[in-house]
């Protein structure tokens, strides 16, 4: 009998074990929902799958009576737009400031402590300020995401840039590179895959800030809808929305990972070599 740490499940076993918790949750939900509905068929807390189907049909495939829009798709589009704008802006900021901080000591000296301080401000605490300064429009919501994750990304990129071996920077200089050329040919290409990795890590936080901002002031969006229908205890809408958001988050993460693997194969091969 091998020790437990040396026993590795095969491919099929791993797959089955991976699916198992999901199936268990589903079964548990079905049982609980059935039990409650048997007692009171108007129960709203744990709706049956048929009422989910009805809600999805209503939200995704029937035009809204008041506005004539398909609400789920409209919510998805505006939420994803805000999220990608916030993420994109943050990543851009991180790339520019992070690399400059990492490469140039005279940039790092004033900026690094300042950004560390900024990153310690709880973003939700200044949400009211954002609404006052940027109004209740799109800008405030995007800014909340940026303020929430950009300092983290900047600090991470700076750290990664500092981790690039000094030998490489010296070598580049002996090959005739000036500061700008070192940034574009040595630092930038090596930072990009690392930035993508930290953007993937910050996806969760970005969603959190998006939904918080939408819950407080918005006229459409996934977070807005969830908080709106909460008033009617419409679990049949809320739960499919949560699943949908989870799915979107997973897809975003997956796409970023694929992009990174496609554009920077040397980086992922290197990590694998280090792990072996």
């Amino acid at each position: 009998m091998k020790k437990l740490i040396n026993r590795v499940p095969g491919r099929t076993a791993r797959w089955i074990l991976g699916v198992l918790p999901f199936v268990l949750c589903l079964v548990l939900y079905l049982a609980a929902s059935n039990a409650r509905l048997a007692e009171n068929e108007n129960d709203k807390l744990l709706p049956s799958f048929s009422s989910f189907a009805g809600a999805i049909e209503r939200m995704a495939f029937t035009p809204d009576k008041r506005s004539g829009n398909y609400l789920l798709w409209q919510d998805t589009a505006s939420s994803l737009w805000r999220l990608s704008l916030g993420l994109g802006l943050s990543a851009l900021l991180a790339l520019v400031i992070g690399i400059l901080n990492g490469a140039i000591p005279y940039m790092r000296a004033p900026l690094s402590p300042f950004i560390t301080a900024i990153s310690l401000i709880p973003p939700m605490a200044i949400l009211p300020i954002l609404f006052i300064v940027f109004g209740l429009g799109e800008l405030a919501k995007v800014m909340l995401i940026v303020i929430g994750i950009a300092p983290f990304l900047i600090r991470d990129v700076q750290q990664r840039a500092l981790e690039i071996p000094a030998e490489q920077l010296i070598k580049a200089q002996t090959l005739g590179a000036n500061t700008w050329q070192i940034i574009v040919r040595v630092l930038f290409p090596q930072i990009m895959p690392r930035l993508l990795a930290s953007v993937r890590l910050s996806l969760g936080a970005a969603w959190l800030f998006l939904i918080a901002a939408e819950a407080i002031a918005a006229t459409e969006g996934l977070g807005y809808r969830i908080f709106l229908v909460r008033r009617y205890l419409a679990m049949d809408v809320i739960l499919p929305y949560v699943v949908w958001i989870t799915l979107l988050a997973f897809l975003l993460d997956y796409v970023l990972r694929k992009i990174s693997r496609m554009c920077y194969p040397w980086f992922h091969a290197q990590i694998q070599t280090a792990e072996n």
């Binding site: 070598k171 580049a172 200089q173 002996t174 980086f267 091969a269």
Partner: protein, 293 residues
């Protein structure tokens, strides 16, 4: 004329004296190997030549002028590790200095200019025996191949001085012998002045035209940091003159990937063979021969 002049050179970190009173001149085309105990300032000296460490007292002159205080294209370097760029292929690594020179803004070449640079880079890559690995990334190369790449990358810039900081320290003995041949042939071909730090004294005698030994002459047990190291021996070794080099031409490229058993056998052979004194070798060979018959 002297290429490098070292005039009463000192290096100190606060109270700690690392190097003291170095006085040497080095002419064009000399191959200087540097040996010495760990922590005696060999690497500090190399870093001063490279421009990443400053001179505390005295002068370090290149063509009669002080050396620039930062790394530059007239001095090439190969470190023990991390000398090549992991995000560039072999071709990209070697081409980099050409691209940097011709394209100040983007550091990249396109079209005809790129073709010309590629041609030059390919010649250099073939010269170090990496022709088979042109489009591989460094993580796909063995340690010896990575050092070949680092040499090619430095030499395409035509530096006047080549600095080597234990470049073969991490390599297997068999591969190391190949690298010695490569370095000697490149040194001759490019008319380089080489400074090479090594821990392997045999290597120092074999490769150099001059062997410098760094050591502390004075030592105060009450203040171990009070005195620094000096160059205690400056031996004109010069074992490797022209005819020896011609006798053993640089070997062909390291095989891609090197066949493992063969490599191991060669290593073992080198280790055993070169460590046995000469008469014993002859007798041993005779005994083996008789036994075989």
């Amino acid at each position: 004329m002297a290429l490098i002049e070292i005039r009463n050179l000192w290096k100190e970190y606060g109270q700690q004296v690392v190097l003291e009173q170095l006085n040497k001149t080095v002419g064009e085309g000399e191959f200087i190997t540097i040996v010495g105990a760990s922590g005696c300032g060999k690497t500090t000296f190399l870093k001063m030549l490279l421009g990443t460490e400053s001179v505390s007292r005295g002068q370090l002159l290149l063509d009669g002028k002080p050396l620039p205080g930062e790394p530059g294209p007239e001095r090439g370097i190969v470190f023990q590790r991390y000398s090549v760029f992991p995000h560039l292929s072999v071709l990209g690594n070697v081409m980099l200095s050409l691209e940097l020179e011709k394209s100040p803004l983007l550091g990249r070449l396109f079209g005809g200019a790129r073709k010309t640079a590629e041609k030059l880079a390919k010649e250099m890559i073939d010269a170090v025996g990496l022709g088979q690995a042109m489009h591989k990334y460094p993580h796909e190369l063995s340690g010896g191949m990575q050092q070949r790449l680092a040499l090619a990358q430095s030499l395409i810039k035509r530096p006047r001085i080549l600095l080597l900081d234990e470049p073969f320290g991490a390599l297997d003995p068999g591969i190391r012998a190949d690298m010695h041949q490569l370095v000697l042939s490149l040194w001759q071909e490019h008319k380089l002045t080489v400074f090479m730090i090594t821990h392997d004294i045999k290597e120092g005698f074999y490769l150099g035209t001059r062997l410098w030994v760094f050591d502390k002459c004075r030592f105060d047990p009450q203040a171990p940091n009070a005195y620094g190291a000096q160059i205690t021996y400056d031996l004109p070794v010069g074992q490797t003159d022209g005819h020896l080099l011609k006798k053993s031409p640089p070997r062909a490229a390291e095989k891609v990937p090197p066949p493992l058993p063969d490599k191991y056998r060669r290593n073992l052979w080198n280790q055993v063979f070169t460590n046995i004194p000469c008469p014993a070798r002859v007798i041993g060979l005779c005994v083996c021969g008789v036994g075989f018959v």
